[in-house]
Symmetry: C2
Subunit: 226 residues, 2 copies
């Protein structure tokens, strides 16, 4: 199935936005849209098909499962984000939909060919991959030797920043895109500890909670490590 790029919700933010109209329509012929329901799996670690995709709407998580069966969230993917393997013959991590999502999927070889044909596309992906790399290292730094308090507050600030329009501005009111359990998996903590930290922050007047997912930053300066 061919895609209607003209109505694509991430038309001007995705990697393919660096292409001209004609080039983009040409690329679209190699891809197809796919819808995922919440919790549905896009890729499984070890699966042998090289494949990749741009996220159009919804949200994804990239995870790995350790020997004990515990899941670790390695990255969150937001609309216009890119996931998958163009070169490697197998998937290295699991990719699962956090909520109902829509994607633009390409086969690995087809996308590799597109990269050959359109130098701008590989540059755009390089930039995006470098951003992902730094995001991963930020998370690594955050979960490294920080206390639970610092991790949760760091995650709150990071999510708040992602929720606002500009990446250097905090949204004072936002919804957590993930559950307590998922937040815990991402920070290397337990559900209970995350919950306790949020309770502490609220008691200290730094935040206010609105329902299970809603967060209001009352006084960000009270959060550790700011």
């Amino acid at each position: 199935m061919s895609l209607a790029c003209s109505t694509c919700p991430v038309r001007d933010r995705a990697a393919c936005s660096v292409l001209g109209e004609a080039e983009r329509e040409e690329l679209a012929k190699a891809g197809r849209t796919r819808k995922l329901a919440k919790g549905e799996t896009l890729f499984t670690a070890g699966m042998s098909a090289a494949s990749c995709a741009t996220l159009l709407s919804g949200a994804l998580k990239i995870t790995s499962t350790d020997a004990d069966g515990r899941e670790r969230i390695l990255s969150l993917v937001h609309p216009s984000g890119f996931v998958g393997e163009m070169f490697a013959p197998y998937m290295r991590h699991d990719v699962v939909a956090l909520g109902d999502s829509e994607l633009c999927v390409f086969s690995g070889p087809a996308f590799a060919e597109a990269i050959d044909r359109y130098p701008k596309l590989s540059q755009a992906l390089l930039r995006r991959t470098q951003e992902d790399l730094f995001a991963s290292r930020e998370l690594l730094a955050l979960t490294g030797n920080a206390s639970a308090e610092q991790r949760v507050s760091g995650a709150l600030l990071s999510i708040s920043r992602a929720a606002s329009d500009s990446p250097c501005h905090l949204a004072s009111r936002f919804d957590l895109p993930i559950s307590r359990g998922e937040l815990a998996d991402m920070l290397g903590l337990t559900i209970e500890t995350v919950s306790r930290m949020l309770t502490r922050f609220e008691r200290e007047g730094a935040i206010r909670r609105d329902g299970k997912r809603g967060i209001e930053l009352v006084d960000p300066a009270l959060l550790p490590l700011s």
Copy 2:
């Protein structure tokens, strides 16, 4: 100072190896060699010059320092590895030499121009950056919710793999490239804990230590998580 690519030790492994002889010599005019002594700093987080480099010999660490002044190692860089910022106006992390090292340094804009001119170069960098991204996520998974025992054994196996010729084969005898303290910083542990785990592994017969850096894998199956 111009470079003699013909004598470059990573001539056929670095990103620029995808270029033809003529193109490579052309690129070399934009770069210069630089030697770093052990412990010397190449980039400091926040510094405002966009710059990047290929490591020719030695080893580097990419680190971040948190609010408490504790250092966290985010990545190790081996010869033919690439570091720095081509696009962002400032450095995001510190880059320090682990031992005496030699680099091929480019200014950010000059390298960005080279990427524009040589599509193959941006593809090679894309591939390399994706590898770095997965390495970062592997480390994230390792340090996530694993016990100190699992982290140290995971690091031993990973380093052993890196020390052997093939990436899927374990070297039974190798030297740790970093000190206890650096290993601890990388795993989010303390020097003492790393030391205790190594002592435990030796007492259980899994490894034998030879001096401060030497490690012999006697029975890898005894290491947790294998």
